[in-house]
Symmetry: C2
Subunit: 366 residues, 2 copies
């Protein structure tokens, strides 16, 4: 028996979570997974209830659980409170406290949605790219940090980007291993592109050196390339299919994974996994809490549903159940069902549906 | 009389500089500008000659000059030398020493080249966007920085992202003022989008607060918006025309300006200016030294030629001469002349030319 903690969060979080939970319950039964579901508070709703974006109780239950399924956090209501108490801090804290150092974000183009992208079809058709982002280090967590008053009376803000060899090695290992697994499945050669700014930042020079050493010592079967972050950002637009697995630090990963997601034109479809050293993980959609459409049954639940599939694959090693969900999602797209964010009004034969109808359609396919 | 120091640098630097100098000499005569040209060493060629990427003599002459025109620096030959001596360090040092804190990069779509982009035409047609990047602060110059050995024997790399109120104010001022000038010229309302990661980094929270204070105190006629860097990176792909002027720090600016350039599909066309507090500046193409095609007469000299136009506009206030160059460039594109990087082989009526033929064609138009 295993336990999953669901944290719906803010904005569209609750509605997409409702659909994902239905799907999770269905596969739980169908594949006899013996999973138990609990729910907890994070983000703005947690602030409203307890004053903290990540209450101790939630953290304790997340530690006790085998996996966490997260909706989304944040919204204008909590944008003006003191920064240590904002919803995003709850997200950063749970990542840090649970040691979820490996963030996997897949930018995959669903052929049914090829037109949704602002990129020309030939550039992105067949795109399936994995970004491995370090999630508990770098400038997100580095000390010292803060805002101080200088002697001349003006203010100065400062943050520290820091990585040690062992932090780089453990995320490098995830990237190299996943590149091998993906290559095996696809029948191609394994390759990893490590993104840095080694021509300017010493911390990323250590990053680059460490990747090179790992490749030479342990992963000579994986082709390793290096790219500066600015160039990577350009190459993703010019020719994203040149990449298979990209690995980078917390901040570059934040930027590049969002960019890669937007290439597909349908960020409402993209799941993510954040894993610790033992494969325990937190799973969440790549999109945010979309407060502007919250509570209107307009949200796309598919990224959260696909996050359930990732959870079954990575934490519970239930590949068959994971694929069943992914197939069901693909099937509803084939049927022409579209939430507003992925609706192409110039295409015939599509049916606009709400969050609930989309979720229930996936459920029916299972 | 004013003096311009030309620094051709490495790779394709010398060949594009030769063409730009021809153009500069022609407008100098035509508009009686009384400009004197000198040349100096920077980057790899400077390392080869003196052991330093920015020799003292070059720095002294750059200080004495009224403007600097730079080609490009760097190449594989110098990639393995000790990092404090690499070509890029020469570039960073000249920016820092001359106080060139305001980097202006325009991402403009030439209608003749609309097909070169990987973005759909309707998304980028008419794109003309200015990125104002802080260039002498932030994590590029912040201390402490380095790689140290920890007590447990492993290594740790670290850099510091730091901005003070006055640094933010002076770059903010440049952005607000340029937004007003651009709006006046275009007959539109002035707007600035400030890019930060204030939900995570304290240093960029100070950035955001400072921008807000400036807008309220001095620029209530400019609409100010804020965007997180990850979202900005997405929005540039989804709908770049929502922006007019973007302002951000050194590192986000490095990434976003390259991304914006790539949206046009023709980074070989894009010039940049790096200005100090008195409008003195260094001008250079946005592209790099392209060692793979160096010395083969394949490079596109237009970005360097357009950098000359920027120099005439910003440092010498010679708007007429600047526009004459820009018109000449547009004319040669109308004539169908294309260097390899901007050649669309599916389009009829184009003529592939080399670096020299392209430069001389611009010259003939003047
Ligand atoms: C909300 C924010 C703190 C977060 C991040 O920057 O990591 C988000 O952008 C993400 O990528 O999950
Ligand atoms: C070459 C490098 C140091 C430089 C930078 O990062 O500033 C370049 O990418 C640029 O944008 O001019």
């Amino acid at each position: 028996m295993a336990t999953i903690l669901t944290l719906a969060g803010d904005g569209i979080g609750p509605e997409i979570m409702t659909q994902a939970i239905d799907v999770l319950k269905a596969v739980n039964e169908k594949f006899s997974l013996d999973l138990t579901l609990e729910s907890g508070l994070i983000g703005g709703v947690a602030i409203d209830a307890t004053g903290e974006p990540l209450p101790d109780e939630t953290l304790a239950r997340a530690r006790a659980a085998d996996a966490v399924l997260l909706g989304a956090v944040g919204g204008p209501k909590w944008d003006t409170i003191e920064r240590s108490k904002r919803p995003e801090r709850g997200l950063l804290k749970i990542r840090g406290e649970l040691g979820l150092f490996a963030n996997l974000r897949v930018a995959k183009l669903y052929p049914q949605l090829a037109n949704a992208s602002s990129i020309k079809p030939e550039i992105i058709s067949g795109l399936d790219l994995l970004i491995v982002r370090e999630l508990t280090g770098g400038i997100y967590f580095g000390e010292p940090r803060g805002i101080r008053t200088l002697e001349n009376g003006e203010q100065q803000g400062y943050n520290t980007m820091v990585y040690s060899t062992s932090e780089i090695q453990r995320i490098g290992k995830v990237a190299f291993e996943l590149a091998k697994t993906r290559a095996q499945a696809a029948g191609t050669a394994a390759k990893v592109c490590s993104v840095d700014k080694a021509n300017v930042l010493e911390v990323t020079e250590l990053w680059k050196q460490t990747m090179i050493q790992m490749q030479q010592a342990e992963y000579s079967d994986v082709a390793l390339s290096h790219m500066y972050a600015d160039n990577a950002c350009m190459q993703l637009i010019k020719d994203p299919k040149q990449f298979d697995v990209m690995v980078t630090g917390n901040m570059f990963g934040d930027i590049l994974s969002d960019e890669a997601a937007m290439l597909t034109g349908s960020i409402g479809m993209l799941p993510s996994a954040s894993l610790d050293e033992d494969g325990k993980g937190m799973y969440e959609p790549c999109h945010g809490s979309a407060p502007d459409i919250a509570g209107q049954d307009k949200a796309n639940p598919l990224a959260t549903i696909l996050s359930v599939a990732m959870m079954l694959r990575y934490t519970f090693k239930q590949e068959e159940a994971a694929q069943a969900i992914e197939q069901a999602v693909s099937d509803v797209l084939d049927d022409g069902l579209r939430t507003l964010d992925i609706l192409d009004s110039s295409e015939a034969g599509l049916k606009q549906v709400g969050c609930q109808e989309m979720g229930q359609a996936v459920l029916a396919k299972l």
